[in-house]
């Protein structure tokens, strides 16, 4: 072992942290090499100076300050982290649900009275008296006074037919629009929630 190698090992030799055979080799070398002994003495002196440093105590007000900070402080449990963020998460979720409803909602509402008996049926007539009589039956009739043929339409029935047509028709544009917008909202929501989770994990990792 030459002086260079020994010099590299001296810092650990000082703490007796070398492998036993290395310890032996280094001390063998030291017994014959005064310059390496000198170097060891210098390392020892530096260590001795560090060891001789006087103990340090915190300033008198330090603990009171710490305890004051502790009392103003809450532990970051998952609940305490997520509850303040629940508002924004819920609001975003609401948007997703609204998007879903924009698809379901129109057909649901428009079909609501479908099948239920209407209370009034409106008849249309050029003769206001006949037209405004709710007891008048539907369909074509002959006005007994004028023998004029009148066609009565049940407008409610027509409206229902129209609605049924609308609701059951393959409205692919509407469907596609819903699909894209609601999945976009869902992705955005997941991103936001994921970011919060990431923040939470980082907060925890700081103390690991």
């Amino acid at each position: 072992m030459n002086c260079r190698e020994v010099a590299d090992l001296l810092p650990l030799f000082l703490d007796e942290e070398l492998a036993p055979d290395e310890m032996k080799e280094v001390s063998n070398h030291l017994s014959v090499c005064s310059s390496c002994r000198q170097l060891l003495a210098e390392f020892k002196r530096e260590q001795q100076i560090l060891r001789s440093l006087p103990p340090v105590a915190p300033p008198p007000t330090w603990r009171a300050e710490l305890l004051k900070r502790v009392k103003n402080q809450r532990r970051p449990s998952a609940i305490r982290f997520f509850v303040p963020r629940l508002g924004s998460l819920a609001a975003a979720l609401l948007v997703v649900l609204l998007m879903t409803n924009l698809y379901v909602f129109p057909s649901y509402v428009l079909n609501r009275h479908h099948g239920a008996p209407p209370e009034y049926r409106i008849a249309v007539s050029e003769n206001p008296e006949v037209a405004n009589d709710p007891s008048e039956p539907d369909g074509a009739q002959t006005n007994p006074e004028t023998t004029e043929k009148l066609q009565f339409f049940d407008l409610n029935q027509k409206a229902d037919d129209l609605v049924r047509l609308t609701a059951t028709s393959d409205n692919s544009l509407q469907r596609r629009w819903w699909l894209w917008s609601s999945s976009l909202c869902l992705v955005m929501w997941l991103t936001g929630a994921g970011y919060y989770y990431y923040q939470y994990r980082r907060l925890q990792e700081q103390t690991d």
Binding site: P55, R75, T207
Partner: protein, 203 residues
């Protein structure tokens, strides 16, 4: 309940059940060690106060997650050194203010310094020793933070290599090589300081 007789682990249990006094007891057990570590790492009183408080606050916040993986003290010192290293990374552009040679060192009882065992402790020797200490501290403050952490843990705080490995979460081989390089780096710094060389020659 007599808190003073409990182990750290029992105090943590007490604290988790809502007893704040248990936390205060932990603070009083470790504040001196933690503050000294913080002071030697950050080299000035204000930063040390902040660092030590920050570490205890983190402990307070996360005692529930500790679960006895390491001993309490190891975990506590790890939080101090990790917080210090994080701070250093954050303010890389704002280097530490090196310790002034005239700065007073706060100690538990006045400013007592232990004497060299080999020399007989006249007032002149004591003065010389104080000078040397200040110079070594200045050099220590200029070392890389990673080196400063291991040297402080080893020579100032007096931890074993095994303990240092647990605190820094490095394997023992890495600890050895880092301490070795840190000693060499400190020596290099000291040799660059004329004042040190002159004092050592004078001894």
């Amino acid at each position: 309940m007599q808190l003073a007789g409990l182990t750290d682990e029992h105090l943590v249990e007490e604290f988790l059940q809502g007893n704040l006094a248990a936390f205060e007891e932990l603070v009083s057990r470790y504040e001196q060690k933690v503050f000294q570590l913080a002071y030697r790492l950050s080299c000035n009183l204000d930063d040390a106060s902040d660092l030590a408080q920050e570490a205890f606050l983190k402990v307070y916040r996360s005692l529930g997650q500790w679960r006895g993986k390491a001993t309490f003290s190891t975990w506590l010192y790890r939080i101090v050194t990790n917080t210090f290293l994080d701070d250093m990374r954050k303010r890389k552009r704002r280097p530490l203010v090196a310790v002034s040679l005239d700065a007073s060192i706060p100690t538990e009882d006045g400013e007592v310094t232990r004497e060299f065992p080999s020399t007989d402790p006249g007032p002149e020797q004591e003065y010389l020793q104080r000078e040397l200490q200040q110079i070594v501290l200045t050099a220590l403050a200029e070392l890389e933070p990673d080196y400063r952490v291991v040297l402080t843990l080893r020579d100032i705080q007096g931890h074993t290599y095994e303990e240092i490995a647990q605190i820094t979460q490095l394997n023992i081989g890495t600890v050895k090589s880092r301490i070795s390089r840190a000693r060499a780096a400190l020596r290099k710094k000291l040799l660059e300081m004329e004042q040190y060389v002159a004092l050592v020659r004078q001894k």
